[in-house]
């Protein structure tokens, strides 16, 4: 038999041995699920429903406040899951009816099929809403910080393009925005292909409750591949821009927001003695003797070494206020990330490997191929001009990231529960 086999290149045989096929596959994580829900979600919902039934049975025999509270908490999920199961059962029934010989019955089934599918979709949405753990900052406004990666002017130009992309996206969506900071870099006055300036750092505030949730998936490195205007030989360059998404307090926050800033337990609390303030001091006597216009201010959070400098406004006090806001947001984000990191280290190693952190590239904008790819969801969209204008293509990408994030959150919760169960099991064995 061996002699009949056609000749195969030796290196190809060797590569087959390593099962290297997987490297050509894109890590698309949205599996095909009944009812448009990830399987992990369904599994979790099933578990919770079983728990709910058990608790109800217990409550029927003897009433306990603790159990009643827990049952109340998960009742919503259980009913949503039961409704979904019912809808799915009726769907399978309908599908079998369609196969039947009776023509009248078949017609009825087709009529019903459409409405049942729609119902199934909405029920699925309900369930996922009930199940998805809510991010603690989800309801907040957000700050989008845009910084070019290391490298030449090209990255700086693209940073400006991204800034305008998000600005336009918010305008299209009807979100209110405010430019907190938009600082050009020092070196020259060149302009990019669309009249972009070389950006040093920009901060865009999205003044919309829930903006943090909407933009959370945008944090990370955004890579661009294009031929820069400054390139004379027509070579494609690759540069990167980092985007950070920080939670921010609304300026006229409610009483609880104010308290949050003052509360030492809160993520947003900063001890004023830990912050060093630097202002551009005029030389000489000051006061009536000089009349300076510099209003720059720099805050340094000493324990973490985080610095924020602001000089956009003519008023120093206005600069100070925005610098404090940005500093608070950055520190809160850092604390949150540190906690998430800790939680991740406790989980199984498989899940933590698939984690995407701040340093990883999350999206590529390829101008030559007119393509924008999100590396987490594996979604490709075309029509780069529409993406850069913050149009529906960008919306599509961001929506796909949202579902990816939600699924990841659920997985994290599942992993946590598994870890807790394993720990309990160990304890039981030890006893």
């Amino acid at each position: 038999m061996l002699t009949v086999a056609p000749w195969v290149c030796r290196s190809c045989v060797r590569s087959l041995k390593h099962a290297g096929v997987s490297q050509f596959l894109r890590r698309a994580s949205t599996a095909a699920i009944p009812g448009g829900l990830p399987s992990s979600l369904l599994e979790r919902a099933r578990k919770i429903t079983v728990e709910h039934d058990q608790l109800n049975a217990e409550l029927a025999t003897n009433f306990d406040e603790k159990i009643a509270r827990r049952a109340g908490e998960i009742a919503k999920i259980a009913t949503a899951f039961k409704d979904l199961e019912k809808a799915r059962a009726s769907l399978t029934e309908l599908e079998s009816l369609i196969q039947s010989d009776d023509e009248e019955l078949r017609e009825l089934a087709t009529d019903d099929l459409a409405s049942t599918t729609a119902e199934l979709a909405s029920l699925g949405r309900n369930l996922s809403l009930a199940l998805t753990p809510k991010h603690p900052f989800a309801d907040m406004h957000c700050l989008l910080e845009i910084r070019p990666g290391p490298g030449g002017t090209e990255g700086r130009f693209f940073a400006d393009s991204l800034f305008h992309m998000y600005e336009k996206y918010c305008a299209n969506k009807g979100y209110r925005t405010r430019v907190v900071k938009h600082e050009a870099s020092d070196n020259d006055g060149h302009k990019g292909s669309d009249g972009e300036i070389a950006l040093q750092e920009a901060v865009l505030e999205v003044l919309e409750p829930g903006a943090y949730q909407a933009f959370r998936g945008e944090a990370g490195m955004h890579r661009v591949q294009r031929v820069p205007v400054t390139e004379v030989k027509g070579r494609t360059h690759t540069s990167a821009v980092a985007i950070w998404v920080l939670p921010s307090f609304p300026e006229t926050g409610g009483a609880d927001m104010e308290r949050d800033v003052e509360n030492p337990e809160s993520d947003f609390y900063i001890d004023p003695t830990e912050v060093r303030t630097e202002t551009m001091r005029a030389r000489g006597a000051g006061g009536q003797h000089v009349n300076k216009t510099e209003s720059a201010i720099r805050l340094t959070h000493i324990p973490t070494g985080t610095t924020v400098s602001m000089q956009d406004s003519r008023s120093q006090s206005a600069n100070r206020v925005s610098a404090w806001r940005i500093l608070r947001s950055r520190i809160a984000q850092q604390r949150r990330e540190a906690r998430e990191e800790l939680a991740r280290s406790l989980r199984s190693s498989v899940l933590s490997q698939s984690q995407i952190t701040r340093g990883d590239k999350i999206r590529t904008y390829n101008y030559q191929q007119d393509r924008c790819t999100d590396h987490r969801t594996g979604l490709d969209v075309h029509n780069i001009p529409n993406v850069m204008a913050g149009g529906e293509m960008l919306d599509k990408v961001m929506a796909s990231v949202q579902t990816w994030l939600a699924e990841r959150d659920v997985q994290a919760v599942l992993a946590d529960e598994e870890a807790a169960e394993a720990a309990e099991g160990k304890q039981a064995v030890a006893k």
């Binding site: 001091r281 006061g287 003797h289 008023s315 120093q316 006090s317």
Partner: protein, 387 residues
């Protein structure tokens, strides 16, 4: 002034042709970029119809940048200066509000708001002497307005130009007044030689309540000495801002730069305000003012009287008339960040046997003092025999 490097001009030229103009006044690229942005924002706000590439826009930019290159303050060119949350109009002939003034005014309004909430609800009266653009008076008024149902702020200035600008600023900042309850007025007058109207306002003679007193007398008077004016002030201040607002009695060369403080303290003997705050040039002047407060040495009176008031008993009494005497630095709200400062205790200086707290960070900028009970009840009339 050290010469600017030619390379700096080339780099400015690459930013914008206008930047080279601004470099002459700003002297570093970062502030050139900021000022250029503020000027172009101002131009596009004034004429939104013109694009930045159009001829009228560029002409206007050129005009403004050239004025700036000659050293004219940006605040006079743009016509405004932000002051806290307010936008204060500025015009040649009236001193431009400084950020140091803003810092201590904001700190003071925080203190006042705290005290209002602890005190009974009673009318709050604030007097701003040498009000200029009215920035201090307006700032205090707008800060205190929400928490103070009865608030009366008065500004006094010798310059008619300043008074009309201050009145304009009330309208410009859309400050709401409530006749009889919350008012802000500006008066034209000379504090050394008050007219009857000014005297009435100062002594609160129109008030039905006899016990009516000023809760705060605040002043940013001219305090630059003649010598300091020619040595320490920057060119743009010397050439473009009014000397009247900088140097006391600028027509004579012999008067002291502390003359306003002496006059205000003299007035305080009869007015008996609860709190006073004066802006000063630096530590030396601050110490002179504090000493003046303790000795209540009226510089205007005869030398004979001065010696008589320096008596030991009198000094003791005067020193304890005030519950709080503090010297504030540029940033009174922040902790001092000098490397030398390691202990948690506040920095103090000793004047005439009493320890004075020095608050904040930066250069010494103001003197703040609060009268004690004895000061407010018996006042100076019983101590010095003056009425």
């Amino acid at each position: 002034m050290p010469r600017l490097q030619p390379s700096l001009f080339w780099r400015a030229r690459r930013i914008s042709p206008f930047a080279t103009f601004l470099l002459r006044a700003c002297r570093d690229l970062q502030s050139v970029k900021n000022e250029l942005r503020w000027i172009s924002e101002h131009v596009s706000q004034a004429a939104p119809a013109f694009s930045p590439r159009s001829f009228p826009y560029k002409t206007r930019m050129w005009q403004l940048c050239e004025r700036r290159a000659r050293g004219e303050p940006l605040q006079y060119i743009l016509g405004t200066q932000p002051f806290g949350e307010l936008d204060i109009r500025c015009r040649p002939g009236v001193l431009i509000p400084r950020w140091e003034t803003e810092a201590y005014t904001l700190e003071l309004s925080r203190i006042l708001i705290d005290e209002i909430s602890s005190e009974k609800k009673q009318p709050m009266r604030i007097l701003d002497v040498c009000s200029g653009t009215g920035c201090i008076a307006l700032q205090l008024y707008s800060q205190l307005q929400p928490s103070c149902p009865s608030l009366h702020v008065r500004g006094l200035d010798i310059s008619q130009e300043a008074i009309s600008l201050a009145r304009e600023n009330v309208v410009h900042n859309a400050l709401v007044q409530n006749p009889g309850k919350q008012t802000i007025r500006f008066l034209h007058g000379n504090i050394f030689n008050p007219s009857d109207a000014v005297r009435d306002a100062l002594y609160l003679s129109q008030q039905s309540d006899d016990t009516a007193k000023w809760d705060l007398i605040i002043s940013n008077p001219p305090y630059v000495s003649n010598r300091s004016f020619s040595r320490d002030t920057t060119r743009s201040v010397r050439n473009f801002e009014p000397k009247l607002a900088l140097v006391p009695n600028h027509t004579h060369n012999d008067t002291s730069e502390d003359i306003f403080y002496a006059r205000l303290l003299d007035l305080s003997k009869t007015l008996r305000p609860k709190r006073m705050l004066f802006e000063v040039a630096g530590m030396e002047q601050a110490l002179r003012v504090v000493r003046m407060i303790f000795l209540q040495q009226p510089s205007l009176s005869s030398p004979a009287m001065r010696t008589s008031e320096k008596g030991e008993a009198g000094k003791e009494l005067h020193r304890d008339l005030y519950t709080v005497v503090q010297i504030w630095r540029d940033d009174p709200s922040v902790q001092q960040q000098h490397a030398a400062r390691e202990s948690e205790k506040d920095e103090v200086v000793t004047v005439e046997g009493r320890e004075i707290t020095v608050k904040g960070d930066g250069k010494v900028r103001s003197v703040y003092f609060v009268g004690g009970d004895s000061f407010n009840q018996f006042g100076w009339s019983s101590v010095t025999g003056r009425g």
